[in-house]
């Protein structure tokens, strides 16, 4: 299990963010396989392919053209095959409304996109090293929003 590479999906329309994300993951000492999607529709098309291998973690940007992250989240949670996926919201927004909505719709973690590369790395490290099973069982709203105490 330790040696199995972690499969991660990111749906984000912003190319720079995808690059930052990729570079941050590369700098973390964890083996990962990452796939990128430019909008929610692309992601859902991928996930809905019959017999596709399900990823370990899905990162969703909220604000995307064609299909936003929130719609993807709702769709995934309704789908019997996908509903147990670990989903991390990864957005610029930090409004209470967005956080609340994501929580209600069943996202596991909410990360506000940091404005510092090392903070991004720290966040991703924390998320990847999370004991997911434990996190989902003891899931509380208080530890939903990831606070990275690093500026």
């Amino acid at each position: 299990m330790e040696n199995e590479p972690l499969e991660i999906l990111l749906a984000d329309d912003d190319e720079d963010d995808r690059v930052f994300f990729k570079e941050a993951l590369e700098e973390i000492k964890v083996k990962t396989i990452i796939s990128f999607f430019e909008d929610g529709l692309q992601l859902m098309n991928y996930l809905n392919q019959p017999g596709v291998r399900l990823p370990n973690i899905v990162f969703l940007d909220l604000n995307m053209p064609i299909k936003g992250g929130m719609d993807c989240l709702i769709e995934i949670r309704k789908n019997n095959r996908l509903k147990d996926l670990a989903i991390v919201i990864y957005s610029t927004s930090s409004t209470d409304e967005d956080i609340e909505e994501a929580f209600v719709n069943g996202a596991n973690i909410y990360i506000k996109k940091p404005n510092d590369f090392s903070a991004l790395k720290a966040s991703l490290t924390q998320v990847i090293n999370l004991n997911w099973q434990y996190h989902i069982l003891g899931f509380k709203k208080e530890n939903f929003l990831f606070k990275i105490n690093h500026v």
Binding site: D14, D16, D17, F20, N63, T92, S93, T95, D96, K113, P114, N115, D116, F117, S118, L120
Partner: protein
């Protein structure tokens, strides 16, 4: 109540008037009765006096005829002329006739009747002797002694008869005297009673007249007041652009006030007050509203309000508001009374206000949209710039020349500044947002959260933030109160004195509105007074109010960093809670922020 008293008074007045009138009529009838009685008794007494005189006359006639009979008897005895005898017999008849007359006249008088009877007896005896004398005389030519005796006896009878008649006359005289006295009394008494009764009725008539006159005067006064009131009412209606109408349900008649016609652009009484005529002026599309309004007033008996359009005589469109209500007057009659008002100006103003409100809502929505832009579209590139900066600082920065390093640091500072601005602006607009959810919250926890949020700043500055009391649990917008604590505490630490570690102290108590400086607060209400004081650089008191205005900063950029938004947010938050916030400062000693929240 006042009206009731007035009408009762009015009733009393008319009752008095009726009483006076009835009394007057009785007085008049009484006077007439008395006068009739008086006149009757006067004529009675006159009649009785006349009666006595008649008796005198008859007695005299009786005496006269007796005397005539005697004279003729003598004449015959002397002359033997039969004409004397004829006259003698005639006189006898007359005597008898006079006796009959007297008998009738004194029928009711017992004494005189007895007197008359004895007189009659005497006369009869006298003429019995006379008859015998005449009989003897026929038998023998010579006058015998017997005849003489007869004559003497007859004369004696005659004398007695005269005495008897004298007695009767005396008796009648006595009666007459009494009757004359009574009659005189009657004639004296009649004018006095007549005068008295006339005076009495005159008194009552004057009283009645006075009363009527008084009532007339007060009626006139009331009428005048009524006229004045009417005029005032009329003018008031014109000034206020209102009119009234009254619909008598039983008689199905309508009445309009003068202004009702004017509001329709007509002259007073220009058309007959009927529903149909009024409906001609109501906008065809709105006629059902008027009908329904009247029906509503009839159905639930409460005031029914309707708004409709009216087309005036000159074609101008006006907006009317009508309130109708069913009332039952003191006589049990049912009316709908209504007040119409021309609300065209108000309608247009309302319309304008509505438009302005819509504008405001639109601009509010635009502001929300702007917030969205600020939160996403501005933050997004800025965040990326910052990330790129952090990437350069992490690798490649060391290779830059000293000059470029300086430029780079400049970029980094400005970006940070911009980031702070955007964040504060977002907080400000969030504090302004309309949906404010009040919840029961423990202010101690909110204060601790604020401290937690500021732990970096507190550690960096070696600051002490202490609370010496237990803060209240209160109905608040929790995240805003937390923000309030964060802003004030960070403000205190930011504007610290250079050489002493900052100490921020929070205190709380309950005060009444009267203790709040300024007069805006409800004096009887209780407030939580929360004060946060520090030992920072303070400020001059004259700036205390300006501190809370947006973008206002007391210090130069280089001395103290700040956006000038933090305290403005505080003010909005406190106002959202219907409270007050004040700042007090002493330069180089410290400042105190005092917040009053209604209990």
């Amino acid at each position: 109540m006042f009206k009731e008293m007035k009408s009762r008074n009015q009733n009393l007045k008319s009752m008095v008037l009726i009483a006076v009138f009835v009394i007057s009529i009785f007085a008049l009838l009484f006077t007439a009765g008395i006068s009739y009685k008086q006149i009757q008794s006067l004529s009675d007494s006159e009649n009785s006096v006349l009666h006595s005189y008649k008796i005198f006359v008859e007695l005299e006639r009786l005496n006269l005829y007796c005397a005539t009979a005697e004279t003729n008897q003598r004449g015959y005895l002397l002359t033997r002329d039969s004409t004397f005898l004829q006259t003698y017999y005639n006189s006898l008849d007359n005597v008898h006739q006079a006796y009959i007359n007297l008998k009738i006249l004194i029928y009711s008088d017992e004494i005189q009747s007895r007197n008359l009877d004895s007189l009659h007896n005497l006369i009869n005896r006298r003429f019995y002797y006379a008859a015998n004398v005449l009989k003897k005389d026929n038998d023998s030519i010579q006058t015998s002694d017997f005849t003489k005796t007869l004559i003497i006896n007859g004369t004696s009878m005659m004398r007695q008869a005269r005495e008897q008649s004298g007695k009767m006359i005396n008796e009648e005289m006595r009666l007459l005297k009494n009757r004359e006295k009574a009659h005189k009394e009657n004639t004296n008494f009649s004018p006095v009673t007549l005068l008295f009764t006339v005076a009495l009725s005159l008194f009552f008539f004057i009283l009645a007249f006075n009363k009527i006159n008084q009532d007339l005067k007060s009626t006139n006064k009331i009428n005048n007041q009524l006229l004045i009131n009417n005029e005032i009412f009329e003018h008031s209606e014109q000034i206020a652009n209102i009119s009234n109408w009254c619909w008598n349900m039983e008689e199905n008649t309508l009445s309009f006030s003068f202004n009702h016609y004017r509001l329709l652009g007509c002259n007073p009484d220009e058309f007959d007050p009927t529903i149909e005529n009024f409906m001609q002026f109501v906008h065809p599309d709105d006629r059902h509203i008027v009908v329904e309004g009247n029906q509503r007033a009839l159905d639930d008996l409460s005031a029914s309000v309707s708004n409709f359009r009216v087309i005036r005589k000159d074609g101008e469109l006006r907006y009317f508001n009508s309130i109708g209500k069913v009332i039952t007057d003191s006589f049990g009659k049912t009316f709908i009374i209504g007040v119409n008002s021309d609300i065209t100006e108000r309608y247009h103003k309302d319309k304008m206000l509505e438009e302005k409100l819509a504008d405001l809502e639109r601009s509010n929505q635009e502001l929300t949209a702007f917030n969205h832009i600020a939160s996403h579209d501005l933050q997004e590139p800025l965040r990326k710039i910052q990330t790129f900066i952090s990437r350069i600082r992490d690798n490649g920065f060391e290779n830059l020349t000293a000059n470029v390093k300086d430029y780079f640091s400049g970029i980094e500072r400005s970006t940070l500044k911009m980031h702070k601005f955007i964040e504060d602006l977002l907080l400000y607009s969030r504090a302004n947002k309309a949906d404010k959810v009040f919840e029961m919250a423990d202010l101690n926890i909110l204060f601790e959260n604020a401290k937690q949020e500021l732990s970096h700043l507190i550690e960096e500055n070696d600051a002490t933030v202490i609370s010496s009391v237990i803060l209240p649990v209160h109905q608040v917008i929790p995240f805003q109160i937390q923000q309030l604590f964060i802003n004030i505490i960070s403000n205190s630490i930011k504007y610290r004195s250079a050489n002493i570690p900052p100490i921020v102290h929070i205190n709380s108590s309950i005060v009444t509105g009267a203790e709040i400086p300024g007069t805006m607060a409800d004096l009887s209400m209780n407030f939580f007074k929360i004060s946060i004081s520090d030992n920072g650089i303070g400020f001059e008191q004259k700036y205390s109010e300006k501190l809370f205005s947006l973008f206002y900063r007391l210090h130069k950029e280089k001395e103290y960093s700040g956006t000038g938004i933090g305290l403005s947010i505080c003010k909005i938050i406190v106002e959202n809670h219907k409270g007050f916030i004040f700042a007090e400062g002493v330069p180089n000693i410290g400042s105190t922020f005092t917040i009053y929240l209604p209990v």
